[in-house]
């Protein structure tokens, strides 16, 4: 079920009513309701893959219980290995099998050996990368002793499949979300109102901005060979805005809808395009994934406590894996490694934490130096986004080649489209700039009631009137 669909518009109020009606009953009733609702939400897309979530949840619940009872180091290691291998095995089979086989085939062909003919004809289950990482964090934290294993299977299964963040994050940590399933929830009208506002803003980002820009981006990337330089530049700038609005829009809806049910999810985006360097960008972009890789890959590899050479390798591995997490394609790996290359000079010079906190706090406009820093960072991300968006490395290199020597034959993005794209981009950048010290751009609780309602109506009408209600999935569903 998509957040931007009519079924979800009916599903959410029904679950809301049932959930709060069950408040007077046992906490388990509410958790069972969440679990059933989450499975309906997921099964709406393809009920067959529910088996994978149930399998993954069962393994990690059982392993968690076994870890809590085991004291022997070897047995604990065996249990953890079982959980990690099973979860990554499922992910590898469904997401990466064909990628590795294809890469192996290319390698065999390159060295003149007969290529293997294996292939696996499977569809990538939506959200598998998200819930696999979420459930893995649970067993790893139990193994490390940072978390006690839960003995409430309903709470655990609901934690793994919690519908607002099941298919595209934020990737929650058990130590943050699981306790919320174990304690009574109270309806907090302030949090719920703010959640509803955040959902509205998320829908605006997705349906109005991302899905309308997608049309121009598709044209620019599919017809790069016929596009002029301005169209090619616009194509990648619009993609930067599109992917931000698509993914952060999803996160806004997820966080907002969780708040309607009394849950608090982690922040996933903190105005990344206002970052003044790449290190800051990565502290603001897909925060739940970045911190996952930091805690479960980078630090176990030695983190920042190793020597410089080792740290460089750790950074490259972490960013490379992060790229691969996004998709089974070398384009994503190169995107990750390119970001690592941007990051390394900051780390070596010790300036990777030079920019923390909001930009130009308390001021309307940034300084010239901040503008320059933000622009440079944005330009660096644009280069990397070309790899992220292109269908293959060959297409990405072609895009750069056409940028250097364009051969325009048609208006890939017509002038009206350029103007419209610029206006859509401004419709995001300006409100977010003005609210950059708040959680989200619709945090307008300071306005008088009438002003707030006028604003909500304006945003709601913009969604209905300007939105693209075509069959556009969220980009991050494929990851």
């Amino acid at each position: 079920m998509l957040f931007n669909s009519l079924p979800f518009a009916a599903f959410l109020p029904v679950v809301f009513v049932l959930y709060w009606a069950a408040q007077r009953s046992d906490l388990r009733v509410q958790n069972i309701l969440i679990l059933v609702a989450s499975y309906v939400f997921y099964g709406w897309w393809d009920y067959r893959f529910l088996a994978l979530i149930v399998l993954s949840s069962t393994i990690d619940y059982v392993v968690g219980r076994a870890l809590s009872r085991s004291t022997g180091a070897a047995r604990r290691r065996t249990l953890l290995s079982f959980s990690v291998l099973t979860n990554l095995g499922l992910l590898g089979t469904f997401k990466y099998f064909n990628f590795f086989v294809d890469s192996l085939r290319d390698l065999f062909v390159a060295v003149g050996l007969p290529s293997p003919g294996w292939t696996l004809d499977v569809v990538l289950p939506v959200g598998i990368s998200f819930y696999t990482f979420q459930t893995l964090s649970y067993t790893i934290d139990v193994y490390r002793g940072r978390l006690s294993a839960t003995d409430d299977p309903i709470a655990f299964f609901a934690f793994v499949s919690f519908f607002p963040q099941l298919v595209a994050g934020p990737i929650e940590r058990a130590e943050h979300l699981l306790p919320q399933f174990l304690a009574p929830r109270r309806f907090d009208s302030t949090a719920a109102s703010d959640g509803a506002r955040q959902m509205l803003w998320g829908l605006f980002k997705k349906i109005v901005v991302a899905d309308n820009l997608a049309l121009y981006v598709q044209n620019a990337f599919s017809q790069a060979g016929s596009a002029g330089r301005i169209d090619l530049i616009a194509g990648v700038v619009f993609f930067a805005i599109q992917i931000y609005c698509d993914f952060s829009g999803y996160s806004d809806i997820a966080i907002g809808s969780a708040r309607l049910f009394g849950f608090s999810l982690r922040r996933n985006f903190a105005y990344p395009y206002f970052a003044r360097d790449i290190a800051e960008f990565w502290r603001r972009w897909h925060i739940s994934l970045s911190t996952w890789f930091r805690d479960y890959v980078y630090i176990p590899l030695g983190g920042s406590k190793s020597n410089t050479r080792r740290r460089l390798i750790n950074v490259m591995i972490t960013f490379g894996l992060s790229g691969l997490w996004h998709g089974a394609n070398w384009t994503f790996v190169i995107w990750g490694l390119l970001n690592a290359l941007y990051y390394v000079p900051l780390m070596v010079s010790g300036t990777h934490r030079a920019n923390v906190g909001p930009v130009a706090p308390g001021k309307l406009l940034p300084s010239a130096r901040e503008v320059l820093a933000m622009t440079m960072t944005f330009l660096l991300t644009l280069v990397a986004w070309v790899f992220f968006r292109a269908a293959s490395l060959h297409d990405a290199m072609d895009y750069f080649a056409y940028l250097a020597r364009p051969t325009p034959t048609i208006d890939v993005i017509p002038l009206a489209g350029l103007l419209r794209g610029a206006l859509l981009s401004a419709a995001i950048v300006l409100p977010e700039w003005l609210h950059r010290e708040k959680e989200h751009a619709m945090a307008v609780d300071g306005l008088p009631v009438a002003g707030r309602w006028v604003l909500y109506l304006a945003v709601g009408l913009s969604i209905l009137v300007l939105g693209n209600f075509g069959e556009v999935q969220f980009i991050y569903f494929q990851f």
Binding site: L6, S189, S193, G417, R420, L457, L464, V465, G467, F469
Partner: protein, 331 residues
């Protein structure tokens, strides 16, 4: 504030928003000078641009068609492939009920409205896999615009669960200047000729985009459900149903990364519902560019190569009724 007070406030907001939206639609529909390009308002734009498409001509003829031997339906693949002139030479009375972007949801409700009148013993449904990712919005807009509405139309729109389709219905209901269907001026695409009985021929020198976008098809399961319902409904009326996939260029097939899986899913659905399924890809040699005017539609020359193969398959499967004495040219 309790959850119920919060809920009441949300309902108040939704009602206010709906009222404002309807008022705005009314203004937009009845103010021809206001143009809203390429956004959700494309519903209105698309609605206007689709006025007079082949559907309007097909529906006028469908109204008087009776006692067919074969009824074809599906998307543009159907109405650009099954040339009635070929079947005339075989003494078979045929009609092509294909419409732009028609998906199984749309097919089902079209059948509900028209099948009992035309009553064909064999129904051929073109099931191009790419259609199964759609929700039926585009086709719904076409049908709303170019046919006289019925309750089936409303049910069809609700079945698509699509806001643009619902918009199109609202736009149409609010349009004070709507032209009656029988007075709509036909407007075909460049190079198109309406041959009759639902068939549209594309002029042979027309060439459109040849490169298929690379993608995986995420099947919309509502479509599978409606395909099954359509087949079962037709079988209950005594008709046999054949679902086919017409040939598409090899690069187009490769561009659909999960073609084999999608095709297998459709085949399984069709078989389960008691119909037959034939994918003609691989059964006839056609060349991209030469035989196709874009990345998935056959040129007339390819249609003429394909139909004998198709006819032979019907004969081999025993799906053709006894040949008649004289060529039928209904209507």
């Amino acid at each position: 504030m309790s959850p119920w007070q919060f809920g009441r406030r949300a309902v108040a907001f939704a009602s206010l928003l709906a009222t404002a939206y309807l008022a705005l639609l009314f203004v937009v529909v009845n103010s021809p000078r206001i143009r809203f390009p390429e956004t959700n308002l494309w519903t209105n734009q698309t609605r206007k641009s689709m006025l007079g498409k082949p559907t309007v001509l097909m529906v006028r003829e469908l109204g008087v068609a009776r006692d067919l031997d074969i009824l074809f339906t599906g998307s543009s693949h159907a109405y650009r492939t099954f040339d009635p002139r070929f079947f005339d030479t075989k003494n078979l009375r045929t009609f092509n009920m294909g419409t732009t972007g028609q998906t199984p949801v749309n097919t089902y409700f079209l059948m509900r409205d028209h099948f009992d009148q035309v009553r064909a013993p064999l129904v051929v449904i073109e099931t191009y896999p790419d259609i199964f990712r759609l929700d039926g919005t585009f086709s719904s807009i076409d049908l709303i615009q170019n046919t006289a509405w019925s309750w089936s139309t409303v049910r069809m729109v609700l079945a698509t669960k699509s806001l643009p389709a619902l918009n199109a219905l609202l736009f149409d209901a609010l349009d004070l200047h709507r032209v009656p269907v029988d007075q709509i001026e036909p407007r075909l695409d460049p190079g198109d000729t309406y041959v009759g009985r639902g068939y549209v021929e594309k002029r042979s020198d027309v060439t459109w985009e040849q490169r298929a976008p690379t993608r995986s098809i995420a099947i919309n399961h509502t479509q599978l459900r409606y395909l099954r319902r359509t087949i079962e409904w037709l079988r209950r009326r005594g008709s046999r149903v054949l679902c086919i996939v017409q040939p598409i260029p090899e690069p187009t097939r490769r561009a659909i990364k999960n073609y084999a899986e999608v095709s297998e899913t459709i085949r399984a659905t069709v078989t389960l519902a008691g119909a037959e399924y034939v994918d003609f890809n691989g059964m006839i040699d056609l060349t991209p560019g030469t035989d196709f005017y874009d990345y998935h539609h056959m040129r007339q020359s390819a249609v003429e190569k394909f139909l004998p193969v198709f006819y032979a398959e019907l004969v081999a499967r025993g799906l053709i009724p006894e040949p008649r004495e004289a060529a039928g040219t209904t209507p």
